[in-house]
């Protein structure tokens, strides 16, 4: 059994109710680390090409990060892997909370579900055992209600679960499971995949212990991380105010999109509105901090909201992406709207980013007479109108009326109505998140070409640009390839290891590699990190290529690249040479920009990609 791992993967066929365990090989852990690295390898090798994302041949994987349950600080994240009903291609989504470490303590590094149950079920996995149980009495219940019932049904107060709500049950493409009440692998439609299998929830409870190679090294590394964290004022601030602390400045600086990416924050939203939608304002409702597993920082918060138009009671602080998507993107500065929409999305399991962005698309269509009030079920979907936003979110989470269409996202909706395409703000159909490539140009490449498109947490020079930490001019598009590829590759390792991105301020690469050595007992250094990251990236990318998705199909909409540029504000005149960024990236990789296929020699040298080579190059 590989050290640092539970050593087993679980496979559940819901059509036949077969449950199989497989040993996790040492080779797989060395080549793909964990998380979506191993997930990509498993799905590529086992899922048939052309499988319907919502059909029985489709797999959905719940993959723990390698650092889960190893006492590694910031090591609590897990990943969902599947084919996206939005893109028809690869999808991975990342979540915190406690689900991943609990799955590993229950004896498994990953769970893969395929087939389809005839009736609603949930999986209960506990200390090396797995059961398929009826979920007929859970269907239709919110994610929070379901969690409470699962505690009763399992007799385990400490049970953790990834649960879909009505959005997933309705197989809405924007649906996602929710774990721990408010954490979500949100993007790309994983909730729809679960719903298509009649899989209401995966509940886990474990008391097993993961053996590590060198607990002293992990402990010493944790001490370095803690010291660094205490000296890092940015991280301290994150612990106080969460990511929502950034919403005001982001709304005005050009980083956050405004009015469906058309607006200018300082002019169209304004300072007062920007400050209203930040957590410094909303934290008047704060009742406590929330920590994900193994996190010393605790950037989450619990709230109690007993005033405003929708007093939801116990809830959680909205993250930046959520407050951005329901705030400046919709020209809404009403914090009760943002808090309530966050709660609705968590209760019913739908991605807050895509929900807000789809409503933004609909608002612009309505403004321009492209969609009528009748087509929007009589809702006066005007910019900033809080009650209309809430009404539309309710329709989406329950797939009611026009909500049934919008709950599949803006790209689907434009196709359904046969109009409004000009107002889409997407990368390959995935709604863009709350970081603007006109502000952080490297993100244009990440959004367009990452195998999971439209993600702000994948690696690359865009990450430097978001914080203006680049050397030189971020709008200089010469020689971007080397740094872009390097950062991309190393981010694959951080993610697959299950480390939180927000801990990386105190966990630089050197310490990440030290942790990997402490957990696994094997050597790990910068070169190995680069190669492993590249291998993982190619495995994810190959999934798309095999589905017929090549670079020419990887798109990004025009406002995000400044075509046309804005005429005022901090991004005045900016256009992004996204083509050059893409070309530089591919040239550094040595990949053909037409086919997208990596050279056979490169893949052979990396190893672990035999099936990819066979499929894409003809022979292994």
């Amino acid at each position: 059994m590989p050290t640092g791992y539970a050593g087993k993967l679980l496979f559940v066929n819901l059509s036949t109710e077969e449950i199989q365990e497989e040993e996790l090989s040492q080779e797989l852990t060395e080549q793909f680390i964990g998380g979506y690295g191993i997930g990509a390898k498993i799905l590529y090798d086992r899922m048939p090409k052309g499988a319907d994302p919502l059909g029985p041949d489709s797999y959905i994987g719940f993959m723990t990060g390698m650092t889960n349950d190893t006492k590694t600080l910031f090591g609590g994240r897990y990943m969902l892997v599947h084919k996206s009903p939005v893109t028809g291609g690869w999808n991975d989504a990342n979540s915190g909370g406690h689900f991943g470490p609990e799955l590993k303590k229950a004896g498994y590094d990953g769970l893969f579900v395929y087939g389809k149950s005839e009736k609603p079920v949930y999986l209960y996995i506990h200390d090396g055992e797995a059961e398929i149980r009826s979920a007929e009495d859970l269907w239709g219940k919110t994610t929070k209600e379901t969690l409470e019932i699962l505690k009763e049904k399992t007799g385990e107060e400490k049970v953790r679960a990834a649960i879909i709500g009505t959005a997933g049950e309705n197989q809405s493409y924007l649906a996602c499971p929710i774990n721990d009440g408010h954490r979500a692998p949100g993007r790309g439609g994983g909730g729809a995949v679960m719903g298509s299998k009649n899989l209401k929830a995966v509940a886990v409870r474990g008391t097993l212990k993961t053996e590590v190679a060198d607990a002293d090294l992990i402990r010493d590394t944790n001490m370095e991380i803690t010291k660094s964290m205490k000296e890092n004022k940015g991280m301290q601030r994150l612990g106080e105010r969460g990511t929502g602390g950034g919403t005001p400045a982001n709304s005005l600086s050009g980083d956050a999109p405004v009015k469906n990416w058309k607006g200018i924050g300082i002019l169209d939203f304004g300072e007062d509105s920007a400050e209203k939608v930040g957590s410094e304002n909303m934290d008047r409702y704060k009742t406590g901090k929330y920590h994900c597993n193994s996190c010393p920082l605790g950037c989450g918060a619990t709230y109690e909201v007993e005033d405003g138009r929708w007093p939801v009671g116990d809830t959680e602080r909205p993250e930046y992406e959520t407050s951005g998507a329901f705030g400046p993107t919709l020209l809404c500065d009403e914090e009760d709207v943002i808090i309530y929409c966050n709660e609705l999305c968590n209760l019913h399991g739908i991605d807050t980013i895509s929900t807000g962005m789809t409503i933004a698309w609909a608002m612009e269509c309505y403004e321009n007479g492209v969609l009528s009030k009748e087509e929007l079920d009589g809702i006066d979907l005007t910019w900033g109108k809080g009650e209309a936003i809430v009404e539309m979110v309710k329709k989406m989470i329950h797939s009611e009326g026009v909500g049934k269409v919008l709950a599949n996202g803006s790209a689907y909706s434009a196709k359904y109505f046969g109009k409004g395409e000009e107002y889409l703000q997407t990368a390959s159909g995935i709604e863009l998140p709350m970081h603007d490539p006109r502000y952080a140009p490297g993100l244009a490449r990440t959004y367009q070409f990452d195998p999971s498109p439209g993600r702000h947490v994948k690696g690359g020079i865009g990450g430097l640009h978001m914080s203006n930490k680049q050397e030189g001019d971020k709008y200089d598009y010469n020689d971007t390839g080397e740094k872009d590829v390097e950062l991309t590759a190393h981010r694959e390792v951080l993610n697959s290891a299950g480390l939180c991105l927000f801990g990386s301020g105190a966990t630089p690469r050197r310490l990440q590699h030290q942790l990997i050595r402490g957990i696994t007992g094997r050597d790990f250094n910068n070169d190995m990190g680069y190669e492993t990251g590249l291998r993982i990236y190619i495995q994810r990318h190959a999934f798309n290529l095999r589905e017929g998705i090549t670079p020419k199909d990887m798109t990004i909409t025009l406002r995000a690249i400044g075509e046309p540029p804005q005429t005022g504000g901090p991004l005045e005149g900016i256009t992004v040479d996204h083509k050059k960024l893409g070309e530089n990236f591919y040239t550094t990789l040595g990949w053909d920009m037409d086919t997208g296929t990596p050279p056979k020699e490169q893949m052979e040298k990396l190893g672990g990609l035999e099936k990819v080579i066979e499929d894409l190059c003809g022979t292994s």
Partner: protein
């Protein structure tokens, strides 16, 4: 002459929210930022170097000369989240 300076950022900076500042005629935006940065700890100087600057709600030009009554907004956003 007087200008108003306001800071909005993910991280608070010591004694910098909204304040009126007295500056000499001919001061550029760059000069103002240097004045704000002087006697601040290195960490805050770095943040201010990365800030997005607006003057009277327009993109700030570091070489541009400030005028009486100008409103300078200093923004330090959060990356990622």
């Amino acid at each position: 002459m007087k200008v108003t300076v306001k800071y909005i950022g993910f991280q608070p900076l010591q004694e910098l929210r909204k304040t009126a500042m007295e500056i000499p005629e001919g001061f550029t935006l760059q000069d103002l930022m240097e004045k704000i940065k002087e006697s601040r700890p290195p960490y805050e100087k770095k943040l201010l170097d990365r800030a997005t600057l607006l003057v009277n709600r327009e993109k700030g030009d570091l070489e541009g000369t400030l005028k009486e009554g100008d409103y300078v907004l200093i923004l330090v956003p959060l990356g990622g989240g």
